[in-house]
């Protein structure tokens, strides 16, 4: 039987890449997002192109009822949920977030709290063995940068959570993958200064799906960011603080 895959934050470009890669291998798919009309169009696209079952489900991360959401997904999937991919993300302008605490709360809620809530709600309900949880984090969580560390803090938090979740769920035969994309060519990065080596979101989606299938705990995508971030993480604190990265 084909895999049942739930993608949260389904309207982002990376999520679309993930969904297309999953549909290509024949998954049954639930697309969850706040903008329901967009999710319906994306589900129609998967169905028309790949002849897979695809459903749109409304989800509001700021008023999340994780158990009700799992119930809804489970009903649509006939009880078989094999994959959860969390693609939700919120990045406020650092300067605005410094002045506006509600933006900080929103950042943490979308990037960290909602991820924890969904992972905890889904893990006991997934079909095992072979279940996979993937969360799109960011290389911004590997080290804090003056220009983007409020966003980075939420991503560092989710990285630490996933680092513990993986071994915790090992006995239940659920693999956990933290996905750390570098710069991806999406609406989030469109027109931002200082972008380089920008990756195509469909390529990123494929590498996320293959990394999750291989059960990798951490996927850098594109792959060369593993090396870039290894170097950056190795820079001693006193030197790092003097660099303007």
């Amino acid at each position: 039987m084909s895999r049942g895959t739930v993608i949260v934050g389904a309207t982002s470009a990376i999520a679309r890449g993930v969904a297309r890669a999953c549909a290509e291998r024949g998954d049954r798919i639930v697309l969850a997002g706040r903008n329901h009309d967009e999710c319906v169009r994306l589900a129609n696209d998967l169905h028309a192109r790949h002849k897979v079952d695809a459903h749109a489900v409304r989800i509001d991360l700021e008023a999340l009822d994780p158990v009700a959401f799992v119930d809804e997904c489970s009903t649509l999937m006939g009880g078989a949920i094999d994959t959860l991919v969390c693609c939700q993300g919120f990045m406020a302008d650092q300067g605005e977030a410094q002045r506006d605490h509600t933006l900080v709360e929103r950042t943490n809620l979308v990037n960290l709290t909602s991820v924890v809530a969904l992972c905890e709600a889904f893990a006991p309900r997934m079909r095992t063995p072979g279940a996979q949880i993937g969360v799109v984090s960011s290389v911004a969580g590997d080290r804090g940068r003056p220009s983007n560390h409020i966003y980075g803090a939420s991503k560092a938090g989710v990285n630490a959570y996933l680092e513990g979740l993986g071994p915790r769920l090992r006995d239940q035969r659920i693999s956990v993958t933290a996905i750390r994309p570098g710069f991806v060519d999406t609406a989030m990065t469109w027109g931002l200064p200082g972008m380089f080596l920008v990756a195509d979101p469909d390529d990123v989606g494929r590498s996320i799906v293959s990394g999750m299938s291989e059960g990798k705990p951490v996927v850098y995508t594109p792959f060369f960011w593993r090396l870039i971030m290894l170097i950056i993480r190795c820079i001693p604190g006193p030197i790092y603080r003097r660099l303007s990265l």
Binding site: N35, R41, L42, N44, A48, R49, T186, G191
Partner: protein, 456 residues
């Protein structure tokens, strides 16, 4: 607020290059935001930028790139009606639906063309003489139109519902509204392969004769013509014809899965060639080689090799160097068509303008759109490297084309003058009355529309 990126943009010919401010919406809401944004006075939609000239450029204005709005919203397997967003590329249509036995009714020579672009240019293909242009396969278009209160409103148009706007949109170069989605009909095909025929014609007369004979009856036909050959060889051509291969025409290895498609192999031109790489000598040598190269008279080939030979070389436009090139495409009515084509070829040969194999084919009936390009006649397309003298040569060619009752394809154009344009498109007033009705304040505008005087 939509975020804009300042980009120096060009289309496929890499000439001209203009500074534009571009948005790339990924949702309908973001598309609305980009259109409603009053930071820019004008905007034009752009798909994959495969028109050649300045149609998808907006100097110092906004460009709305539709490539991320590429969803197939519905496909009816019984009727072949495809309902999709404007940014859907034909290569993706083929990837999904050719293995299910459906092919676009009309496809241009590149599959890197979006639905919205195919509508805006009313593209034609190798089957124009038999099956018409893109409009013949388009049922309905949803346009976003400017209103008085700066909000853009969606409206579906079709042959029954505002036919004037529908026809003006097909070939209207994006100036009659922003295409959000469309319904187009596909055609059923028995296999993913083409039964293709090739025939050498040693000179122009032989080529025209071949076209009038066997090749007139083939659903797809085109000729590649060596326009640098002179004397007795002038106009020597390779005639190419074909049709979708029925299953029993396929070699036995392909018969089990006639619709199965090997993914096309692609190579990339890694950088802009130096300006001197293409000169009359090297092009002449290439053309002679192409003409002489042995090829079977008949072969079964994958559809993408037949329809999109140049798509196999990604960014092939780089061989023309940084300054780019212009493709000059005209159609000359049959009546004096042979003479018209000959005169055009003579004039370009005299200017020593080196074109790789030019393309020629016979076109069928005219579309209803006032700015639509195709009409019954011979169409000729030359790729010419951009030089300081090129625009003057093209103006000479335009004058010749007008003398023979011909006109130029706006999707390839970057140099036409307003006077020549008016002489070529006598139904311009009809187009302008629709344009003024739906966009009275010129919220839509492009580098092309300002050059040709197409703004209200």
């Amino acid at each position: 607020m939509p975020r804009y990126k300042d980009e120096s943009l060009a289309c496929w010919g890499n000439h001209p290059r203009h500074d534009c401010s571009s948005a790339r919406p990924e949702s309908w809401r973001a598309l609305d935001d980009a259109l409603n944004d009053d930071a820019h006075a004008t905007r034009i939609a752009r798909g994959l930028g495969r028109s050649y000239g300045d149609a998808a450029l907006n100097k110092d204005g906004a460009v709305v790139r539709t490539e991320r709005l590429d969803r197939v919203l519905d496909f009816d397997e019984r009727t072949g009606v495809l309902h999709a967003e404007a940014g859907l590329a034909l290569k993706d249509v083929n990837r999904s639906f050719l293995p299910r036995g459906w092919f676009p009714g009309v496809t241009p020579g590149s599959a890197y063309v979006t639905l919205g672009g195919a509508i805006a240019a009313n593209v034609h293909g190798k089957n124009h003489h038999a099956e018409g242009a893109f409009d013949a396969w388009t049922d309905a278009i949803e346009l976003l139109l400017p209103t008085n209160n700066a909000e853009w409103e969606p409206r579906w148009v079709s042959r029954d519902d505002d036919p004037e706007l529908f026809h003006a949109t097909l070939g209207g170069m994006g100036l009659t509204g922003v295409v959000r989605r469309a319904s187009v009909r596909m055609k059923p095909v028995p296999s993913a392969h083409i039964d293709a025929r090739y025939q050498k014609a040693p000179n122009l007369d032989a080529a025209l004769e071949g076209f009038a004979g066997d090749y007139a009856h083939m659903p797809y036909s085109v000729a590649w013509i060596d326009c640098l050959a002179t004397g007795g060889d002038a106009g020597r051509s390779v005639l190419i014809g074909g049709d979708h291969a029925p299953v029993d025409a396929l070699p036995s290895v392909l018969r089990a899965e006639p619709l199965k498609l090997e993914p096309p192999k692609r190579r990339r031109v890694p950088f802009n060639f130096p300006g001197a790489a293409l000169n009359p000598l090297s092009v002449r040598a290439f053309n002679a080689l192409y003409y002489r190269s042995p090829r079977p008279e008949r072969r079964i080939e994958p559809a993408h090799e037949f329809f999109y030979p140049l798509d196999a070389i990604l960014e092939w436009n780089r061989i023309y160097g940084k300054k780019g090139f212009q493709q000059y495409q005209v159609v000359i009515p049959f009546e004096r068509g042979a003479q018209g084509v000959r005169t055009l070829l003579d004039r370009s040969a005299k200017a020593k303008a080196a074109s790789f194999l030019a393309v020629r084919k016979a076109m069928g009936p005219e579309s209803e759109g006032p700015l639509s390009f195709p009409m019954p006649g011979w169409t000729l397309a030359l790729d010419l490297k951009q030089t300081t003298r090129l625009d003057a040569l093209l103006a000479d060619l335009d004058a010749i084309a007008i003398e023979f009752g011909g006109r130029r394809y706006l999707a390839k154009d970057a140099s036409l003058t307003r006077e020549h344009f008016r002489a070529m498109y006598p139904r311009l007033d009809e187009f302008m009355s629709v344009r003024t009705r739906v966009d009275p304040h010129g919220a839509l505008s492009s580098s092309l529309s300002r050059r040709l005087g197409l703004d209200p």
